[in-house]
Symmetry: C2
Subunit: 152 residues, 2 copies
DNA sequence: GTAAATTGGTTTCAATTGTTACCAGCTTCA
DNA sequence: TGAAGCTGGTAACAATTGAAACCAATTTAC
């Protein structure tokens, strides 16, 4: 590979980080403003909307969030009546989580907003560029995970 | 735009965030392990290597870091003798920062490692895909910043 | 020239985040 | 069985982060 000088503003990890921070800042502030939800809370809701009755553990797997983070989000959501916890018949330690009616209603209001916001931000890319971008992200993420010895 | 259901694992802000976290996790842990530097500290050093005698303010601008973050990094680096602060003749409140000899030496050792790591992670993309990816990131970041009313 | 508003930088404080320790409950295996 | 180890989830703690208050130096406006 050709020797090139290091310039911070050309350094990919830096750029990626700045871009991701901007995007997740915009998204997070929208969730918070519109629905008083943190990002982890929103993720938990999104997963439950897709797959009813997941355990916290399962949610953690799916979302690449730490189990502590999931736990906190779940406690807070349950406190607000947005999700319900029923005992897991297969395992006395864990609960099956599911959306309450209220939670489902909230989700129905959030989902379109989220898609709209996504469309808004990523509309700067053509359909094809977006597809490539998506793939590139995937490859890069996988490689980085591999380098730091993370299970994927 | 076609109505599509919301699936978290297809949701771009989510994917971007996961990818960026993985990459910056890998990078951060390498800096820490090899040179005992945090990411902000590393960024300050990188900027100073390019442009001697910047003020903290200028560094903040360039790196999209908060002034508090820059301040803390600068204090810590000065404490370790990696940078020097000379009074700014143009403004009595601020200091001109520059790398000490030691700092410059450290930089000379870090830079190749950083480039190597970058090459390693992003080698999963072809030269052309990388160029596109870079551009896409840029567009997306700009758009997100615009949406949340940030100066760019 | 001086009061008012602004800006570079640091400190203080509160909120978020991850790490470690911990407590059931479950499994394994003798 | 029942002791030893594992796993889901929570709690307690420490470290990071950013926001707001703050200080001193500077600029602006009268």
């Amino acid at each position: 590979m050709a020797r090139k000088p290091l310039r911070l503003d050309q350094f990919m990890p830096y750029r990626l980080s700045v871009a991701a921070n901007r995007v997740s800042g915009a998204v997070a502030s929208a969730y918070d403003r519109l629905f008083a939800l943190s990002v982890p809370e929103w993720r938990v809701i999104a997963v439950l909307a897709e797959s009813e009755g997941a355990t916290q553990n399962a949610i953690g797997q799916k979302t690449a969030m730490d189990k502590v983070t999931v736990s906190r989000a779940a406690i807070s959501l349950a406190g607000r009546g947005l999700i319900e916890r029923s005992p897991n018949p297969r395992d006395g330690r864990s609960h099956m989580l599911s959306l309450s009616r209220e939670g489902r209603n909230l989700y129905r209001r959030i989902a379109p907003k989220a898609l709209e916001l996504e469309a808004d931000i990523f509309s700067v890319l053509s359909q094809e560029d977006l597809a490539r971008f998506r793939e590139a992200l995937d490859h890069v993420a996988r490689k980085a995970a591999e380098l730091s010895g993370k299970r994927d």
